[in-house]
Symmetry: C2
Subunit: 239 residues, 2 copies
DNA sequence: CAGTGGTCTAGACCACTCC
DNA sequence: GAGTGGTCTAGACCACTGT
């Protein structure tokens, strides 16, 4: 007993949704061009785009700026409580992670950052911008602020590697506790551009504060994810 | 040093974003109609709608079906680890929570539900559908499956009240552990309609499995949130 | 009823990617 | 240069809301 679809864009949505679920269209595969779809279904490009946008909102397809629409791969599961690095949890799920370093600078903390990281104004903070990809598809932009006073010499390390590993191996620091904030919102304009995505793309923001054993802020991490690329999972145990 | 905006819809976005941040437009306030905005800025309705949709994706405004666009109130912070009820965490943040019971049925478990809840196929499950609002604004639809065998007589209770309280007071059951899954995706069609929202609205899905002290599944809870209405916050402590 | 957003048409030009 | 999505125009009719 299927529901009657009287909207054209919903018809498109259901059509492609069906093809994707049946795996007639495979992850990473390119959809026909908007003009081709319009011709095939006798629809204006605007209507086609509306249909595609609803599929994008569902996380079934994604676009790369002016290159086309593609079927979304399955989302990676991110379980922050496990304290695994991006590299660990992505590869353990059978995907291929990679990291591009976009920028590294050392800046004095302004008033806002000083408060967030519980350091004095002017303290030296290492600021990293990285892009991380899964199977070659850019999925998140990361902005990281590191308290260099707690991790001397860290700015001389290779910053495209896993910070989790670096802290563990070189500094003997495991993350002790962390505070996590998740928010569903549009990707920031810069993040969208660096992901090769259209601005205003639905995104997931994660803000993570990592503390050392003494409760000091080791690192502040902002992650801007393509919303279809990740599922968050957490186990909460007895208090 | 402001960036030059050459897109019309981005200009609109920046304009209203500014007004909202300056509180020249207050939470809950209605925006002018799409046609009025178009006239004022000399833009087509399609372009106006595109601008408004990006503001919606940012979580700054929301719409109610055919009633208009409104400024979003601040998001409520949901911290699952605190095991507070919706009523508790909403009211403790200075908002007014309310709950509408949409449906109650008792059904035998099908194969899928039986597996998810670790019961025999055909076991009696209480199924609740509720709509929850903050300050009168519907923000989430909840689908709850309850294992009646563990909570005898529960189907005779008032199901618009807090389940957390009911379990605590009548059954002496506190939630022990829970498993949480968060996914940013479009609202389901039914959920969107019950929230008075357009279908395909960006949404946040939360899936929560609550276990009793013996590790049995007490309750399975699916929450479909308007994406601008909630921020998730979790503290993870030493393992 | 008038007013609102929801959907849709039939075009157009532009910016960028790919070859 | 051909093809793609990104943006935009100037309309139209419909479904639903409020009065």
């Amino acid at each position: 007993m299927e529901k009657q679809i009287d909207n054209h864009y919903r018809y498109l949505q259901q059509h492609f949704s069906y093809l994707i679920r049946q795996q007639a269209l495979l992850p990473g595969e390119k959809l026909p061009s908007e003009r081709d779809i319009g011709e095939r279904f006798n629809l204006t490009r605007m209507t086609v785009r509306q249909g595609l946008q609803t599929l994008e909102a569902e996380g079934l397809i994604y676009r790369q700026n002016r290159r086309g629409w593609f079927v979304s791969p399955p989302a990676v599961v991110y379980n922050p409580a496990r304290r695994q690095s991006f590299i660990e949890y992505v590869s353990s799920q059978g995907f291929e992670p990679s990291t591009d370093l976009i920028g590294v600078t050392v800046n004095p903390a302004d008033a806002r950052m000083a408060e967030l990281m519980k350091v004095d104004k002017g303290a030296r903070l290492l600021f990293l911008q990285r892009r991380r990809s899964i199977d070659g598809r850019p999925v998140l932009i990361e902005h990281i602020y590191i308290n260099t006073a707690l991790l001397p010499g860290i700015e001389k390390e290779d910053m495209s590697q896993s910070l989790t590993h670096l802290l563990r191996n070189k500094y003997g620091q495991a993350y002790h506790s962390m505070n996590l904030i998740f928010k569903s919102t549009a990707l920031l304009e810069d993040a969208a551009r660096e992901l090769g995505a259209a601005a205003g793309l639905p995104g997931l923001h994660i803000e993570r504060t990592n503390y050392d054993a003494a409760g000091r802020v080791l690192e502040l991490d902002y992650e801007y994810w393509r919303h279809d690329a990740v599922t968050i999972q957490i186990d909460v145990n007895d208090a």
